[in-house]
């Protein structure tokens, strides 16, 4: 059934849809560390590249089943991120941002000099042998990423991250181990970037370290900022628009980065919460409906 549905979409549209899907995975990943935890990462493209190269090499050298490959790429990236994050996440906001950028450049330079990643020539990635068609796999990973993001946001773990974002001193005074949560959030974020990178590598069939530079990181950041830092629907929206835009606006492709730059400034000055940010939909609806949490009836006992 899926096969028929997929076949009815022409290849060009399919390519755009898959790009959107990968964009959503990457943006949701960045949203965890930047939107939810409030730590600006300017080097997320590096994590994407770690996942892409790990996935490509796993396919080329070991030929593990693709589904396991996706998972492993994510895990490898998460481990790399935790190793990098452990020392640098002690830094505050701006310093951290610059440090992530610095690390991203170092990762790129290392890949450009490694024999195994074929240096500056890049790697050609064979199409994986899977029972499900590639677009469907991307769709499944997108759904899982959305569910995981929503789960994280509404949990004890997610509340701790939001507390760190809003006020570190208050958060640690509530018993939250800031360093540990930052590293964990960084690793989760990188895991998503790694899976996104792995899918990207296998869908495109060719990867080069230079594809994962600073501008790619800005691509991801623009998606999250456009939709609204910390908002899952916003991030999905932003990623969809900006992943599809280059295709529909081919005639102005050379202005793309110009528009992104202006967009970042404009959003910060006029709509810092993004097009859809600033609203916590669940509690907004609950408040409008006048729903009270369980046990409120006991509240009057004080007087």
């Amino acid at each position: 059934m899926f096969q028929n549905m997929l076949n009815s979409i022409d290849p060009y549209s399919m390519q755009i849809l898959v790009n959107i899907g990968i964009g959503i995975i990457l943006a949701l990943g960045l949203n965890i560390i930047t939107g939810l935890t409030g730590q600006l990462s300017l080097g997320h493209a590096a994590f994407m590249s770690v996942g892409a190269f790990a996935g490509a090499l796993l396919t080329i050298k070991t030929g593990v089943p693709f589904y396991i490959n996706i998972l492993l790429s994510g895990l490898i990236t998460a481990v790399v991120a935790a190793a990098i994050g452990w020392p640098i996440l002690r830094l505050t906001g701006d310093y951290l941002a610059i440090c992530t950028l610095g690390f991203a450049e170092i990762v790129k330079v290392v890949f450009l000099n490694l024999e195994i990643t074929n240096k500056a020539l890049g790697l050609t990635v064979p199409t994986p042998d899977t029972s499900l068609p590639m677009p469907l796999i991307v769709l499944i990973v997108v759904c899982l990423t959305i569910i995981a993001s929503a789960f994280i946001q509404n949990s004890r773990f997610g509340r701790a991250l939001k507390a760190i974002r809003d006020d570190e001193i208050a958060a640690e005074s509530m018993g939250i181990n800031i360093a540990r949560y930052k590293v964990q959030s960084f690793a989760v974020s990188a895991f998503m970037a790694g899976t996104g990178g792995c899918l990207y590598a296998h869908f495109l069939g060719y990867i080069n370290p230079s594809d994962f530079g600073f501008l790619k990181s800005i691509d991801m950041l623009s998606m999250v900022v456009l939709g609204g830092l910390g908002s899952i629907p916003g991030t999905i929206f932003g990623a969809s628009i900006l992943s599809a835009a280059p295709e529909f606006l081919r005639f102005m492709s050379q202005y793309r980065m110009l528009v992104y730059g202006a967009l970042l400034v404009f959003m910060m000055v006029f709509r810092p919460n993004g097009l859809m940010g600033g609203i916590d939909f669940t509690s907004f609806v609950l408040r409008k409906l006048g729903v009270k949490p369980r046990g409120v009836s006991r509240s009057k006992e004080v007087q």
Binding site: A148, F151, I152, N154, S155, R156, F157, G158, R159, A160, K162, A163, D166, D167, I169, A170, A171, E172, S173, M174, G175, I176, N177, I178, Q184, V188, G278, D280, S283, L286, R287, V291, K292, P293, R294, G295, V296, R298, S299, K300, E301, V302, Q303
Partner: protein, 256 residues
């Protein structure tokens, strides 16, 4: 044995000695107030106890164990809750979420719990935390505002929300930094009852406050700080009659 004990605690910022060799004991179950003129070092003492600043010299022990120099989150988990002089709520989050964050140390499920939140044991814990949060909110009469944004509350209610958030740690000791600041007399009266209730629930209260009437009516014991040193310590009526205290507040000659 005292619940909290400061032993010759000192902190210097550069050349300034903000807290100078303070000895202080907080007994279990009491309401102790720390008073003193502006800049006497009262909030700094709170920041020393909660680990925001490590002391330059001296010891701090809680439940008989040294906590000086431990990171804030460890001290908080050990059972010390606090509020802040300049309110530090998570303003863009709901009242309920603020208190749930306070209940952080009462839960165990982490990232795995977040991803597997459909498991019965995770749901059970989440339900327990929610119940605790509502309970703490009702202690300060804010449960009916659970889904409001914290920043939308009036000032007095924000101060009470900070108390609820600190209570959610289920602390043995709660530090209240000027809880009555900016409240009108009626709100102060309500707050007074709430703080007494908190103590009656078995939480030791240590507060910094400027409002003398509030302090005199509430505290079992009062310590007075001036220029970083403790100048008096005793029951309210003793402290009120202490010449050194009157001098610190009103200047030389006023005691006569």
């Amino acid at each position: 044995m005292a619940l909290l004990k400061l032993d010759n605690t000192t902190i210097r910022f550069g050349g300034l000695v903000a807290v100078n060799g303070v000895n202080l004991e907080v007994e279990e179950g009491e309401i102790l107030a720390l008073i003193g003129p502006n800049g006497a070092g009262k909030s700094t003492i709170f920041n020393l106890i909660t680990g925001i600043y490590p002391p330059t010299d001296g010891a701090i022990s809680f439940k008989g164990k040294s906590i000086a120099g431990r990171p804030p989150h460890v001290i908080a988990s050990g059972g010390i809750g606090r509020t802040f002089q300049n309110i530090r709520l998570f303003g863009e989050q709901t009242v309920l979420d603020n208190v749930l964050i306070g209940a952080h140390t009462r839960g165990n499920w982490n990232l795995t719990g977040a991803l597997l939140q459909f498991l019965p044991s995770v749901r059970k814990e989440e339900g327990r935390l929610l119940e605790l949060a509502i309970h703490c909110l009702s202690k300060v009469d804010l449960a009916h505002k659970a889904y409001e944004l914290a920043s939308n509350l009036p000032y007095g209610e924000q101060r009470r929300l900070e108390i609820a958030r600190a209570l959610a740690i289920e602390p043995a000791l709660i530090l209240l930094d000027e809880p009555a600041a900016g409240m009108n007399p009626q709100e102060k009266q309500t707050l007074l009852k709430m703080v007494r209730n908190i103590r009656d629930d078995g939480v030791t209260v240590f507060l910094v406050e400027h409002d003398m009437k509030f302090v005199m009516g509430l505290s079992d014991r009062i310590a007075v700080l001036d220029y970083g040193s403790k100048i008096a310590d005793g029951r309210p009526e003793e402290v009120r009659a202490n010449p050194a205290v009157i001098e610190a507040y009103l200047g030389k000659g006023a005691a006569h």
